[in-house]
């Protein structure tokens, strides 16, 4: 490593690096330029839209035989038919509402529970918060899928139960993250300044702490929405989640897999592709948010 190089770097700094432009418009431009983020959000929006509009755009109802069973993909049934003659394409579309609905509802619920509690626990530094953190650590040490299975067994498998189960499993993650973020932010000069200025605690938490903790929480939320989808489809795949005839991607794969050995691949392959693409989209969004936070940190 040469001194030349470091001198060169210093020169560049002296000349002034290109500072990122400030302001909301510039920020929005930077976000829009992130291809991963745009692609991820577009896919999520598309899947959600497909789910919402399924009854309008699906060529067939989700549970109505359209003729011969196990027909390979072809005209009239793009993704083929399953073992009772349901149209796989229509069911993949209908399943979007269940899968992304559960994923988003569960993620929203766990955010709503975990974040306020985490911020309170982090800000007040109470023993109750410490205890809650320890308890949630213990629960998080269990293999997630096994706890989910146990809960599904105990609660009975219904879509609404799945939302609660997935939310229950994810809430500790936000609790912990929000708590850690708040513990750091609590000592930040701008928070101390508002305390000294006599601002009331709820206002400080909402105006100063929450916005600054939001980035990592959102990055986590996007990953978790993907996990929620994987968990939902996994539970349904083993029969402990959404049950047929309701269309759900994991349950569809389970049904299709019974005919896989006979070479009828389509009822297995297409729903899996739908899961993969959707989870990938959540991953892209999360990655983009994390990258931005990292960038902002480096700037400071």
């Amino acid at each position: 490593m040469s001194t030349m190089e470091s001198i060169a770097t210093n020169d560049a700094t002296a000349a002034g690096p290109r500072l990122p432009r400030r302001g909301a418009a510039a920020a929005a431009r930077a976000w829009r330029r992130d291809r991963g983020l745009v692609a991820g959000l577009a896919i999520i929006a598309l899947v959600a839209l497909v789910g919402l509009l399924a009854p309008l755009i699906a060529p067939h109802p989700q549970a109505e035989s359209i003729g011969a069973s196990l027909q390979p993909p072809g005209a009239g049934h793009l993704f083929g038919t399953d073992d009772v003659g349901f149209d796989v394409f229509s069911r993949v579309l209908y399943a979007a509402r269940v899968d992304i609905g559960i994923a988003l509802a569960a993620t929203a619920l766990s955010l709503l529970v975990g974040v306020p509690l985490g911020i309170l626990a982090g800000y007040t530094r109470s023993y109750a918060g410490e205890l809650a953190a320890r308890v949630s650590d213990t629960f998080q040490a269990f293999p997630v899928f096994i706890v989910a299975l146990g809960l599904a067994a105990a609660a009975g498998s219904k879509a609404s139960n799945l939302v609660f189960i997935v939310a229950f499993l994810n809430a500790p993650i936000y609790f912990r993250l929000a708590r850690n973020q708040t513990r750091v932010l609590r000592n930040a000069p701008f928070v101390e300044a508002s305390v000294v200025a006599g601002e009331r605690t709820p206002r400080i938490l909402v105006r100063h702490v929450l916005p600054n903790a939001a980035g990592p929480l959102l990055a986590q939320a996007s990953v978790n929405a993907g996990w929620a989808l994987l968990l939902t489809s996994g539970l349904s795949f083993v029969g402990a989640g959404v049950r047929p005839p309701t269309a759900e991607w994991g349950a569809m794969i389970a049904n299709g897999s019974e005919h896989l050995l006979g070479g009828e691949w389509w009822p297995t392959v297409f729903p899996g592709l739908a899961i993969m693409i959707t989870v990938l989209a959540f991953g892209l969004v999360s990655e983009a948010i994390s990258k931005r936070i990292q960038g902002v940190r480096d700037e400071r």
């Binding site: 213990t138 040490a141 269990f142 105990a154 993969m276």
Partner: protein, 343 residues
């Protein structure tokens, strides 16, 4: 900087924590399973059962007692190594789980071994690309692989592999258990089929089991190795750019030695992630065992869940949680042995 406590003292302190921790774990398992609303007896019998039959079953299985006395019962059973009797198989749950556990342990251990074998050298290679175009390409590949592996449902990947390698190409055995039906299982010594086959010199059983384990292990390894690879690449990159590595290079140390130093400092985060993943694999194995009909602990758990077999479900969750804590314990001990600052 004061001198670090000895590893022995650290290990004793850490081990002393295990018992209270396990108490918390089994309590958590009980709370999870028994405090969730829903009537075990009614679930077990199904929707059409009469109230009378449900009540009879509640008495028979002792779930008519208060939740506290059930908890006491559960704890005293555990103290004697007793997890109750399965409602479904009418066998001791410990026996059921003990019979099946080696299958799972073998599966996840092989997966972890292969994941580390792929991820650590792979990560070092990506990091070694240095700066510039090749490095960007290397990182793009590891990023793409990471995103893909994180998005693929492992049960679906397993099915795809069956489709390609068994159904289409016919090079892998079918998903019908651990051994071909015409191969006699080796005498059970350790419970691990591969080990038992080797110990008894039963080579046909060994190759059959290895062939049957190939697809399940590849499936789980594909998913498990990705985060490890990314972590290794990132940490190594940082280590290779650090002052002490520059210094080591300036001293004229050999390349191999420099990499060894860099790797040493990245061992801790890699091991931590590997430990966490090992615990997660216990859950991931559930789906894979089911697809390949391996008859392991996870498959037993799913069957128990589907049958609402409460003692078995509770035993399943308890054992899985305990296992996770033992893994974390071993992880802490290894970290303590490697790095005096942890002690």
């Amino acid at each position: 900087m004061g001198s670090s406590p000895s590893f022995g003292a650290f290990a004793v302190r850490r081990l002393a924590l295990l018992l209270p921790q396990l108490f918390v774990v089994v309590t958590a398992a009980f709370v999870l399973i028994r405090l969730v609303p829903g009537d075990p007896a009614a679930n077990f019998l199904g929707g059409s059962a009469t109230q009378e039959a449900v009540d009879q079953l509640r008495v028979k299985f002792g779930i008519d007692q208060s939740i506290l006395s059930q908890y006491g019962e559960f704890l005293s059973g555990l103290a004697h190594g007793d997890l109750g009797t399965s409602w479904r198989t009418s066998q001791a749950v410990t026996q059921d789980i003990g019979d099946r556990f080696p299958v799972t342990f073998q599966l996840i251990t092989l997966t972890m071994a292969f994941s580390l074998l792929i991820a650590v050298p792979g990560g070092i290679m990506v990091a070694a690309l240095g700066r510039g175009r090749r490095s960007r390409a290397g990182r793009a590949v590891s990023r793409g692989y990471g995103l893909l592996a994180g998005a693929m449902p492992e049960f679906w990947l397993g099915l795809l592999l069956i489709l390609v390698f068994f159904v289409a190409l016919g090079v892998a055995p079918g998903p019908f258990g651990l051994l071909d039906s015409d191969v006699a299982p080796p005498q059970s010594i350790t419970g691990f089929v591969l080990v038992d086959a080797l110990l008894t010199g039963n080579l046909s059983a060994f190759s059959s089991a290895a062939a049957h384990l190939a697809l399940p292990v590849i499936t789980l390894t594909f998913v498990t190795a990705a985060p490890l690879l990314r972590m290794t690449a990132g940490e190594m990159r940082q280590a290779l750019g650090s002052d002490y590595v520059r210094f080591a290079r300036a001293m004229g140390l050999s390349k191999g030695r420099v990499y060894r130093y860099a790797l040493q400092s990245t061992a801790a985060p890699i091991l931590t992630l590997a430990g966490v993943q090992y615990a997660v694999l216990v859950g991931g194995a559930v789906l894979i065992e089911r697809i390949f009909s391996l008859g392991g602990f996870g498959q037993y758990g799913v069957e128990a869940v589907l049958a609402s077999d409460y003692p078995a479900v509770l035993g399943f969750v308890t054992v899985a949680g305990t296992l996770a804590f033992v893994i974390y314990l071993v992880l802490d001990l290894v970290q303590g042995a490697l790095d005096p600052r942890v002690r």
